[in-house]
Amino acid sequence: MLLLALVPTTLIVALLVISLYLSLRTSVLDPALTLVNYVSLFGDPAAVDAALNTAVFSAIAVGVAMAFGVSVAWVVERTDLAGKSVIGALMTVGLIVPGLFTAMGWIFIGHPRIGALNTWARDAFGATDPVFAVTTVPGMAFVQGLTLAALVYVLVAANLRAMDTSLEESARMSGAGWFDVMRRVTLPLAWPGLLAAALYVLTIAVSAFDIPLVIGVSNRITLFSTYVYGKAFPVTGVPEYGISAAFGAFMIAFGILLGAIYTRMLGRARRYQVITGKGYGPRPVRLRRWAFLAWAFLGAYVLVAQGLPLLLVLFESFQPFTGPPTADSFRTLSTGNYGFIADQLGDPESTIRRSLQHTVVLILLAPALALALSLVISWVVLRTRARFRFALDFVAFLPHAVPPVIFALSASATALFILAPLGLYGSLALLVITLGLSQISFATRVTNSALIQISTELEEAAYVAGASTLAVLRRVLVPLLRPAVAFGFLWLALLAFRELTMASMLFSKDNITLSQETWALIRGGASTQAAALSIVQTAVLLPLVVVYLRYANARS
């Protein structure tokens, strides 16, 4: 078991070391180690630009995400608003909606020239300047923030739920009014949890890929991730890994720093939590006539974050060419794009058909790999006294802190230069392994918390009863872990389905996935076909999401 746990963690560390090594090399042919890449990184205006853009982008995105996410969490967890469980479900769905999908929707809404919002403003009010231009750093950051708000909601809601409400109640009993309780007790208590949530989404925002790729690249706005992607897949010339890896080194350091602060904050937040299992929820704040305002806010958020992009993608999918919804465009509605996709799916040689097959393999194997490895890691961390067990736990957390684009870059370089004879480069297997490894950071959280809930004595009783390690695993541990693992699997599969970063960085015709194919269609100018393909994907995804939500409800 120990050795088995060392395999994935060694691979994760190796990938990081290799990315560092890449940053010290100028070319494949020159074995000398040098800091030239770091020097040229600071001399490269495009890199400096990307760094600044990333900073502005991340700050705004986290701000937007926190503003929406925290407000929604507070309304859902702490008020008497009726029907708020629907919001909870919608927010969970928001976690899974592919960034690609949202990005596409927002191009249709907020593109300065063809975006519906801007063309309507032009036609109706004669506005010359775009009302809202999504093709700017703040524009993209706003969209990113809307998608991250769902994640903030999930993190903060869990935190609010676990908070010891007797602390608030005793403040009330001491004579503090609602406002004083909020200011003197609730907020100070919630603060570490809020900060932890902000740090968590910041880690994601700095290495965001989908939205900067779809909205930014065609409009010449480069962020960190798209910079690395551009260097690895240049329009002209040969791929450059060195400078990207040097950029990556800074981002890894930053990510680990964020991760360290995050862990501290989380620890501080947990000190204020109680898990009693008692049914005393906090007394909800009565909204009375403010309820309609709360609904207006929630409705506006859902409409802007999910409704509008979905409607526009749906509308465009029935159009032959991209254009804003106008009276004319309603006459050109056709199901041509869907016919195209149906034809493609019928053709075993078509890219769409193959990308579907690859996606199915990916969403089944990568989560399975991640969870199997995570089970072993969690077992060693929680059930043994191995000296390095805390190191294992830390390494398992690394893929969250390390930008996925760098992780994939390193995997790609490894397959190309170090493990060349294995022929992994550009293969579906490489994509499965890399994504599986990167999912370990989330999967170990699932397996850790599941394993913690199983008393060690249940396993020991089986050993003493005469069961071998294998029998204990098969007859006791696996059956007890099954619900949690199934839950985790479903979630990771949904995330794998929407995954674009690694699919792009490790892209080849042999491992093209549905999200990669959608991006290829957008890049090739066939946006409406891409929209139709997205809608088909969403339709496929929907039953899975319903199953997931049922599962989540049954568990809570």
Binding site: E457, E460, Y463, A465, G466
Partner: protein, 395 residues
């Protein structure tokens, strides 16, 4: 009495340390004991004394740093050559503190588990018969198809016992099995468990911090403190004749008096000079005149008289404080500079500041020589104290 293969369990010089940050803490520090066939043997001590670690080393759930463990004549742990038999090959039954009932199995499947995983070679019908027999032994018949999680605390405890017994082990390990039950149920299960153990005659190693459990159930008790056994004897000896201050203090409540051995007393036993005056007591072999010792006496053994009863070991004193506790009254007495706690029947009328004659009966005064604290059962055998029924288990 030992079986045909030697002791069902013997532990020799067992050591186990745990790494604690940068230091290493010795949880078990050279523990040796042997359990006879059919004996109910208890490791008693406060939390952190090493009793559970010792039990887990016997079970194979911990790997000791050093020492030898022999179960039914088979060496399962040894230093040279290094032997470590994993728990599933030791053929023991164990009941855990949390019962460790597998929630995803029925009562029947829980009990059948040891038979299934050890490839007992039983046919379907034979297996069912064995399981039903075990279930009947603990009076759970009729519950076989219940989900294990639907059982009450007491029923879960019985189920855990059935599961430990179904494989007919030579040795049964019990790790504080009663600590999760409420007080009333604990009393009942204590008697049930003892009766069952005596009826089946199964050799049992029991771990507890509860002196009542230890005293009422065991044939022998080893009191542990800081990883070592400080006294090993029969329950009666442990209670009445503690050889170490820790034992007297931990098991029940005791009064302690510093004393010095004066010499052999003319009427038997020894004469001691204690803080209350000169008294007579039985002392372990090997004490010498001039030796500093501790005299221990239980509160319930102190007699209080209104006038001088004219018996040895009686001292004039005064009642200082009286606390009514319902079943008893606690009375603080002062004899010279020495405070003594005594426990009296509630019918005894005592008031603060009453003069009192305090009798410390000779046979109830235990002399503790800390150097003798580690040698067990070194008192002159007293037929009225150590009855045969405690030493010899029923067949």
């Amino acid at each position: 009495m030992t079986g045909p293969f030697g002791h069902p369990l013997s532990v020799e010089r067992l050591r186990k340390s745990f790494a604690d940050r940068r230091t290493s803490v010795a949880a078990v520090n050279g523990v040796s004991f042997a359990v006879d066939e059919g004996q109910f043997y208890t490791l008693l001590g406060p939390s952190g004394c090493g009793k559970t670690t010792t039990l887990r080393c016997v079970a194979g759930l911990e790997q000791p740093d050093a020492g030898t463990v022999t179960i039914a004549g088979r060496v399962v742990v040894a230093d040279s050559p290094r032997v470590f038999v994993p728990p599933h090959k030791r053929g023991i039954g164990m009941v855990f503190q949390s019962y460790a009932i597998w929630p995803h199995m029925t009562v029947f499947e829980n009990v059948a588990f040891p038979l299934r995983v050890t490839k007992s070679g039983l046919g379907r019908a034979a297996l069912r018969a064995r399981v039903e027999e075990a279930v009947a032994t603990v009076q759970l018949s009729g519950y076989e198809d219940r989900n294990a999680t639907q059982l009450s605390g007491g029923q879960q405890q019985r189920l855990a016992l059935a599961r430990a017994l179904v494989g007919r082990p030579r040795l049964l390990l019990l790790d504080e099995p009663l600590s999760n039950l409420d007080a009333k149920l604990r009393d009942r299960m204590r008697n049930e468990l003892r009766d069952l153990q005596r009826r089946l005659g199964i050799t049992t190693l029991y771990v507890t911090h509860d002196q009542v459990e230890a005293l009422s159930m065991s044939n022998r008790i080893a009191v542990m403190h800081q990883g070592e056994i400080v006294q090993e004897s029969t329950p009666r000896d442990i209670y009445l004749r503690p050889t170490a201050k820790f034992v007297a203090d931990f098991v029940g409540t005791s009064n302690f008096m510093d004393a010095e051995i004066l010499g052999p007393a003319p009427l038997g036993g020894w004469s001691l000079s204690a803080s209350v005056g000169v008294l007579r007591a039985n002392a372990p072999d090997g004490v010498v005149a001039g030796e500093r010792v501790i005299v221990s006496i239980r509160p319930e053994n102190i007699r209080v008289h209104a006038s001088d009863p004219g018996v040895p070991n009686t001292f004039s004193g005064r009642v200082e404080q009286v606390t009514f506790l319902g079943e008893t009254i606690d009375c603080r007495l002062r004899v010279g500079g020495q405070l003594l706690l005594s426990r009296q029947h509630p019918s005894v009328r005592l008031r603060p500041d009453d003069p009192a004659w305090v009798e410390l009966p000779v046979e109830q005064c235990a002399v503790i020589t800390e150097t003798h604290g580690l040698s067990a059962a070194s008192y002159i055998d007293d037929a009225t104290l150590a009855t045969d029924s405690e030493r010899e288990p029923r067949p």
